[in-house]
């Protein structure tokens, strides 16, 4: 059984008021988010929980480690700035963070006019899950081709694929992040996979012809 890590902290705000705050690492995000409004250590725990997911999302949307680090940092700075406005009754904390990251990525694309997404050049550096036998059969060429096709997809479909496959989110959480219904997410996922199948088949036929 995993032991609950618990540590006492005295935040700047808490210390100023002479209040000792206890931060429980096992608490749900929404409880921690409330505490984080007056206690940076609580925000630190939220950061530990979500940083990798946000980094992955931004990395796949920008295709660059430097931009992923920059935008991940800006996502958390903005989250900290806007934390007082976060309401537990609204979207889940993770969805709220992803929306901040999504807006920053959208601004980044708009301001710079860059359309490069998915780190195609870094393909060789990415781990290849070769312990899964069906995956071994997929050639590097097929995977490269798929990356090219994904890079041509509209932004919302790229976002959906990253949330589903990289972040491995359930449809309900994706719906909260994208501001759609769960049914709309299912339908979009199906249309996206169908469209990838059609484009890959067409590309293959084009190469043969």
């Amino acid at each position: 059984m995993q032991l609950a890590r618990q540590h006492d902290t005295r935040s700047e705000a808490g210390a100023a008021k002479g209040v000792e705050l206890r931060v429980d690492c096992t608490e749900p995000d929404e409880v921690l988010a409330e505490r984080a409004k007056v206690d940076r250590e609580a925000f630190g725990i939220l950061y530990e929980r979500h940083m990798r997911r946000i980094y992955n999302y931004v990395y796949y949307r920008t295709g660059s480690v430097a931009d992923a680090e920059d935008l991940t940092a800006r996502t958390f700075y903005q989250a900290l700035s806007n934390l007082q406005r976060y309401r537990v009754q609204g979207v889940p904390f993770s969805a709220w963070l992803f929306r901040i990251a999504h807006n920053l990525v959208a601004n980044w694309h708009r301001d710079s006019g860059r359309h490069r997404t998915l780190p195609i050049d870094g393909l060789a550096e990415l781990p290849n899950p070769t312990d899964d036998p069906p995956l071994v059969a997929e050639s590097s060429e097929e995977r490269l081709e798929l990356r090219r096709v994904i890079a041509r997809l509209p932004a919302d479909r790229q976002q959906l694929l990253i949330l589903k496959f990289v972040e491995q989110m359930p449809n309900a959480e994706i719906a909260a992040v994208m501001g759609r219904t769960e049914g709309a997410v299912k339908a979009l996922l199906h249309r996206t996979i169908e469209s990838l199948k059609t484009q890959l088949t067409a590309d293959k036929a084009g190469k043969k012809g």
């Binding site: 991940t72 700035s81 990415l126 069906p134 990289v166 996922l189 199906h190």
Partner: protein, 114 residues
């Protein structure tokens, strides 16, 4: 199989059935020809879209900065939704309201005339 049902099947496969292709296809055996190519694409997606790990030094430095950063150095709070989106929604709402008022007014006039 209808598109709606197929969307539900793909969704279920991704949520609970991934890695158990044969079990899944056995249940929906009649639709093997429709499903197999889609499951192939899903397998390919899983091999391409894999999580990456940020550098440990970046992660530690950012955490330290977030915990110690003075409030004055934080970027100003910004609305979650872009200004253009909010303005667009307001404009659309106004148009709908104006159309509704016009509709009610013209119906009332027609009723009076009748």
């Amino acid at each position: 199989m209808s598109q709606r049902v197929l969307a539900e099947v793909v969704s279920q496969y991704l949520e609970v059935g991934a890695g158990r292709d044969e079990d899944f296809l056995a249940i929906l055996g009649g639709y093997r020809s429709e499903l197999e190519p889609l499951l192939g694409i899903i397998r390919l997606l899983k091999s391409v879209l894999v999580p990456v790990e940020p550098s440990a030094s970046f992660a530690a430095a950012l955490k330290a900065r977030l915990i110690t950063m003075p409030v004055e150095e934080l970027p100003p709070a910004t609305p979650l939704y872009p200004k253009r989106l909010v303005l667009g929604a307001v404009a659309f709402g106004s148009l709908v309201s104006a159309a509704a008022v016009y509709l009610i007014y013209s119906r009332a006039r027609m009723a009076r005339a009748a």
